[in-house]
């Protein structure tokens, strides 16, 4: 029995977990220590396991630089181009922020592709990491939409005609296409409404990406990180994330920053489409309309199919098929290191992806059309035929052994 004189101080509360006042109410420190301090990492995780840290860093850079841009940007057809000119010419450090955002977007998608192919190669999508994979592909799709929306905002020639082509692609969908196009463009052609839609979309999706990254990382931490051999637990054992993998990630992020700085300060021509410095002109169709490099493989698929709607289905399908990978490849063997045939097909997939990109950057006709069609065919063959077939074979072989 406690007397009436005893005050209820924090230290008397025997049920409370130890720690400071804040820690007992919101265990941030414990969370960080469990999830990032002591979190066990497979010891053989290699340099490709640092790409996730690079992506987190560049996402933060995009959000911060994007906020500064948004504060100086005018989302109207009449004002957008002029506001970008003001950002580049007069807003203090505006040119710096904008080049960060432009180079950042390119390297973001580049790192995402690296992350994606890392996952495909080492079988990172397999049990128990199916959800990790699904949220990852969702992030890829969201980032692609965000980047497309962002590219329309400066309202240059490529922005305008990019939006126009996207509208046409939507319109090619049977029955609901024309309706979708009108909703997307907010009119018959790209204009004020289009910019407004895409600005809101760009802004919101960017922060939604941050939230989905949170879920993606949470699922990784529940399943644990995989390793290059795909044999779990890691044969070499595990090590706490801090300091062993924290320092590795720091090295990776620093190298990424070096590449980013080289591109944005010294070699911006690698990623800038100068045609977008011409203001949007609805009366003048450019002789060649080409998306940013990171969309070229999908643009190649789009053009490889002779009719518009088919092209749309195929290039959207090229992303959608990735969602189904955990159920297309059901072989218990994870890593391509253990699967010579799968490894060969993975190499073929990378080659096909690059070839599709090259094809997309040319007018897809003549030889390029043939190459694009073969590459597109191989892309889908890898996922839809080879993955299930190899899984069956490997499962049967494993059954024989046991």
């Amino acid at each position: 029995m406690t007397g009436p004189s005893s005050t209820e101080t924090d230290s008397d509360d025997v049920d409370a977990p130890p720690g400071t006042w804040l820690e007992r109410r919101l265990p941030v420190g414990r969370f960080l220590s469990v999830q990032f301090g002591r979190f066990p990492m497979p010891r053989s995780a290699n340099v490709l396991w640092t790409v996730g840290a690079m992506l987190s860093a560049v996402l933060l850079l995009m959000l911060l630089s994007g906020l500064v841009l948004a504060m100086n940007y005018t989302p109207t057809a009449a004002g957008a181009f002029a506001s970008i000119e003001a950002i580049e010419r007069r807003v203090p450090s505006g040119w710096l922020i904008r080049s960060m955002h432009m180079a950042g977007a390119s390297l973001f998608l580049g790192a995402l592709y690296l992350h994606l192919f890392r996952g495909l190669y080492y079988g990172s999508y397999k049990k128990p990491r199916e959800l990790v994979w699904l949220f990852g592909i969702l992030l890829l799709a969201m980032t692609m939409v965000t980047a497309f929306a962002g590219y329309v905002l400066p309202w240059g020639q490529m922005s305008y005609w990019g939006a126009d082509i996207a509208g046409q692609a939507l319109a090619s969908i049977p029955v609901i296409g024309p309706f979708l196009e009108r909703v997307f463009l907010d009119g018959n052609q790209p204009g004020d409404g289009t910019i407004h839609h895409l600005f809101v979309l760009h802004f919101t999706l960017a922060f939604a990406i941050l939230a989905v990254v949170g879920v993606h990382v949470a699922t990784v931490h529940i399943a644990g990180s995989g390793n290059p051999d795909g044999v779990e637990p890691d044969r070499k054992g595990s090590l706490p994330f801090t300091p062993y993998f924290a320092i590795k990630d720091a090295c990776g992020v620093a190298v990424f920053a070096l590449v980013l700085a080289a591109v944005m300060f010294l070699f911006p021509d690698l990623i800038i489409e100068t045609a977008n410095y011409r203001p949007a002109n609805p009366l003048h169709t450019p002789t060649s309309i080409e998306p940013e490099w990171y969309f070229l493989p999908f643009f190649g698929i789009l053009q490889a199919i002779p009719f518009k709607f088919g092209g749309l289905v195929a290039s959207a399908g090229a992303v959608l098929v990735l969602f189904f990978v955990p159920w297309l490849d059901t072989s218990p063997v994870r890593s391509a290191r253990q699967r010579p045939l799968y490894r060969a097909s993975m190499m073929g997939l990378v080659v096909a992806f690059v070839l599709l990109g090259y094809a997309g950057s040319h007018h897809v006709e003549g030889n390029w059309l043939l190459i694009a069609r073969c590459a597109a065919l191989f892309y889908f063959f890898h996922f839809l035929v080879l993955m299930p077939l190899l899984s069956r074979r490997e499962k049967a072989a494993l059954k024989d052994v046991s």
């Binding site: 010891r43 003001a86 007069r90 320092i247 720091a250 620093a254 070096l258 010294l266 011409r278």
Partner: protein
Amino acid sequence: MLAILLAGLTFGAPAGATPPDHDHAPPQHWSFEGALGNFDLAAVQRGYLVYEQVCASCHGLKHVHFSDLAGMGLEPEAVQALAAGYEIRAGRDLSGAPKYRHGLPDDAFPTPVRPVGVKEGVMVPDLARQALIYPGGPDRIYALLTGYSAPPAGVPVPPGLFYNRFAAGRVIAMKPPLHGGDVHYEDGTAASVEQEARDVTIFLAWVGQPHLAERHRTGVRVLIYLLFLIVLLFILKRRIWSHVH
């Protein structure tokens, strides 16, 4: 002679490819080229003079403000004086006629509405980003400005157009803008056609990317800093991992 050359070019082109409809501009050496390029601000200022005295009567510099010219090394007073030399539309008077006032540093460059010496219906391109977006870039702008000549025998030039082997279709609606001696350079440089063309091209390259030199300078500093950081981080990584092998 030229016609023979052109014919040769046409027939020498690989089958299927369309022959170029203008001559290839010979590459020039520019100080702003390359990853570490820089601007000679004296040349940029001379080039501005050519723009102001010659090109400004037809071409605007949309979205560029007079105060932006401080970036080519002008003092605020010089910018103010320069701005005052331009007439800016300021509404209409009671009778409906347009009113004008002297330019202020925060005004944008005016775009000439009805340039003299330009045929009705011809679009005069804006020059603010021309060095960036013109196919062929600064090399071709320089070639174009110095490339006017009499047409080769037998090549008809439609009225109102001028023969220029670097223009698209080898004819252009811009009458030869430079004749030599169009400006008086304060620094004593002789104002030949080539010199004026070179300077104004450098000015256009500058106004198209006014932060280029600063971008390169900052880039070098950031890269050195990051390289240093990377070396330190890798040393740290080796030390941390040295316990676990």
